[in-house]
């Protein structure tokens, strides 16, 4: 009886650890996809920015430096900084190519696949006819609150991936553009579509 109790406890502990791992895994930044490696090999210019929660807290402190108003922090700036402090991670990949369409539709599909799960909802699905170009925006909604944003912006000579994890305020996400390697256009596009 005692032995079975020990086994049951171990089993419960195993399940709990596994569940915690899954829960953590859902909020952690993804491991780079093999597609990203092949894209990087073809690109002439690659920018990779990976910021976890701790690094975001550190980086947010330097956001004051970009302000033009003599360092005075208004309510809006404070709210943006608070939002950044609560983020769980930022993952940005930008690839620039010397030739047009150096990526395939299959590669774009592969990059989107990670977000085609129950947690993520497609918000924007924009395509250019005849070529593998377009914009995709996915959002992660938990109890009606935005907990993540993924933007895949494919242009003729440029491909950008932006993944932001954590509680997000749609009115303030455009302020993230230009910071932490996040392209301004990518978040502006997402904000514009969300406002519709």
């Amino acid at each position: 009886m005692k032995r079975s109790g020990v086994w049951a406890s171990l089993l419960a502990l195993g399940f709990a650890t596994g569940a915690a791992g899954i829960a953590l895994g859902q909020d952690s930044l993804p491991a780079p996809s093999p597609i990203e490696k092949t894209l990087a090999e073809r690109a002439t210019h690659v920018t990779e920015v990976t910021l976890d929660k701790n690094m975001l807290a550190f980086a947010s402190k330097f956001m004051d430096a970009d302000k033009d108003d003599g360092g005075k922090e208004d309510k809006d700036d404070k709210a943006v900084k608070d939002m950044i402090r609560n983020l769980k991670g930022v993952y940005v990949r930008e690839y620039e190519f010397d030739k047009e369409h150096s990526y395939t539709a299959e590669e774009l599909e592969g990059l989107r696949k990670y977000f085609e799960s129950a947690d993520w909802s497609p918000m924007v699905h924009e395509r250019t006819k005849g070529v593998a170009e377009g914009t995709d925006v996915f959002v992660k909604l938990v109890n009606g609150q935005m907990q993540g944003l993924f933007v895949l912006d494919a242009e003729a000579k440029e491909l950008s991936l932006v993944l932001i994890l954590g509680p997000l305020d749609i009115d303030k996400i455009s302020k993230l553009g230009g910071n932490f390697g996040i392209p301004k256009d990518a978040v502006k596009k997402a904000q514009k579509e969300a406002g519709k």
Binding site: A43, L51, F58, G70
Partner: protein, 203 residues
């Protein structure tokens, strides 16, 4: 005679392990102290892989000390190594291999925040690699930058206190923005007062 042999064997049984321990201790202590990681390890690995020689700035400890005083502890622990006329493998470096080399020697605790790569073009342009690593160091943040721009490679490590640094920046900005009508003859401001110290700053 047999007694002498026995004594010699006994001594050798004691001396051999002692000798091994004496040889191994510095290596173990060096490994445990972590000096085989970070700035020195990265610089040494580049030197040995690419047969290049780094120029270290003389009196860097003095510069580092002055920076620490000037920024009130905002910046400290400056280390700089320059590789002039860095040729890599003759025609530059393999970006992936270079990145893996730094990743291997930077050590645990350091996280890569930024990697920027520009491939060398047929016209001879590009060939740039920028890597920025950070690590938490209490109230400070360690930053290690490896920047390869053509034939110039720089490795810089420093420790920063973001709160103190931003406090210093805003102080100078405030000083610049202020119209030149202050009563202070030396132009100094009094924003260094304790009421302006950033929250949580104990230095």
């Amino acid at each position: 005679m047999r007694q002498t042999e026995k004594n010699a064997t006994a001594w050798s049984m004691v001396l051999v392990p002692l000798g091994i321990a004496a040889i191994m201790t510095p290596a173990i202590m060096l490994a445990a102290s972590g000096s085989g990681q970070g700035f020195d390890s990265v610089v040494n690995s580049i030197e040995s892989r690419y047969h290049a020689h780094a120029t270290k700035i003389p009196f860097m400890w003095l510069v580092s000390g002055i920076a620490g005083v000037a920024t009130h502890g905002g910046v400290r622990g400056l280390h700089v190594a320059e590789f002039d006329d860095f040729k890599g493998d003759g025609d530059g470096v393999d970006g992936a291999e270079f990145n893996a080399l730094i990743e291997k020697h930077v050590g645990s605790g350091w996280q890569r925040m930024v990697r920027e790569t520009t491939r060398k073009t047929a016209g001879g342009g590009g060939g740039e690699q920028s890597l920025i690593y950070v690590r938490a160091e209490g109230s400070h943040v360690g930053m290690l930058v490896v920047d390869l721009d053509g034939h110039e490679l720089d490795v810089v490590q420093m420790s920063m206190n973001p709160d103190q640094l931003m406090h210093e920046v805003s102080k100078h900005r405030h000083h610049q923005d202020k119209p030149d009508d202050s009563g202070s003859p030396d132009g100094s401001d009094n924003s260094n007062g304790s009421d302006n110290k950033p929250a949580g700053e104990s230095e």
